[in-house]
Symmetry: C2
């Protein structure tokens, strides 16, 4: 009952009537029918953001890579595997979307070719050709009717410098920077800490549960959206 | 009660007093602190074998890659990430082991170097140098006091030919061949079907639950062990 009351308190309708698309989890880039390249994203942060968006009154769609998480109540979840899949889904959704949060840990590269049969063990050393994946958040930010677009920067070093330059280069409205070198707030943790940057401002979010961080981020987004779009 | 009675029936002590080591799940080969190469192994078959080995009265150790499965009762589980980790654990256990079942889907290759920092997105195409991983089941079969050693062959084509040559080349006592191109019995399925080969014989195990297939395999192992070692 206390949790429900707290949710009610937050459910101030900060995002009432808004349509929010959130990407979450890793992508998996196939090498052959059994092997893939992926990363340690658990999807917990993206799923927490989806919960917070619903609590704030938004119509919420999760475009999710492969994760071991239950779909939050009232969230429409679309499962994808590769970055190409995720891009196609996001571009299909973006025309009808007010806020786009790119929380997924999209693989930067994928194998240049996908073998249709399992690759046999061969020589002692092999060279794998990788090609750049599409940049989903940049593609969304550059689309004709681009929504308010939030990116994430997970780095192990020079966090704020990388995040700030990423925001500018990709034309984002906001970026959430977090340091994944600290295991206490890393990919599989239930906690996080972040610095949120936007053109002309920033806010440090001290270590807290991902649910709390998610609500703080949703509040900051709602503030910025009302300032910019009203 | 029926399940317990069935377990009791099987618990005929086929492997009473035997020490069994089973590898299960995928391995993860790190590229950098956040990225890795892995495969779609769920670990379900290896965990089912561990359950069947315990039911047959064996002291059972699971050397497990990262999976989303609960540890079966009475099983001693050792978690590992990479093929190198798995090899080290297996070689440490093998001197004191009667039966070794290599059910894990060990990555054939790993990145030649592991970056200590997250690799930045760079040029449009990059080339990733991969080096062969150690062959764990062959190393165990070739060790001084080698246990009765069972390998697995998961293939998408020419199944029995590959499996038979793998058994001979690696000096195995038995190999379990299954066709991973069929999604009904693939990596994440609860069902399996297999052909078990040993020098001079074979047995087809028709599609059934992984629990049933596991019991059939444990019976075949017990038969061969008593023939060869008694």
């Amino acid at each position: 009952i206390i949790a429900r009351a707290a949710a009610g308190l937050f459910s101030s309708g900060l995002l009432a009537g808004k349509r929010v698309v959130i990407t979450a989890g890793p992508t998996r880039e196939a090498l052959d029918p059994v092997r893939y390249i992926s990363n340690h994203s658990s999807g917990k942060m993206g799923y927490a953001l989806a919960r917070a968006a619903v609590d704030a009154g938004a119509q919420t769609i999760l475009v999710s890579g492969p994760v071991e998480l239950a779909t939050p109540d009232h969230v429409n979840r679309i499962d994808v595997q590769s970055a190409d899949d995720m891009l196609a889904q996001c571009l299909a959704l973006v025309a009808d979307c007010d806020i786009f949060i790119a929380c997924a840990a999209v693989a930067d590269y994928r194998p240049g070719t996908i073998s249709t049969e399992k690759i046999k063990k061969g020589p002692e050393k092999i060279s794998l050709e990788l090609v750049r994946n599409p940049d989903i958040v940049a593609a969304v930010a550059a689309s004709e009717h681009s929504p308010f677009t939030i990116g994430f920067a997970a780095e192990t070093n020079d966090l704020l410098a990388y995040a700030s330059s990423k925001m500018e280069r990709k034309g984002l409205d906001m970026i959430v920077a977090n340091d994944v070198s600290d295991p206490a707030i890393g990919f599989n943790s239930d906690h996080n800490a972040a610095t949120v940057l936007w053109p002309g401002g920033s806010r440090v979010l001290e270590e807290a549960s991902k649910a709390t961080i998610a609500r703080d981020i949703i509040r900051l987004i709602a503030d910025r959206v009302s300032l910019i779009r009203d």
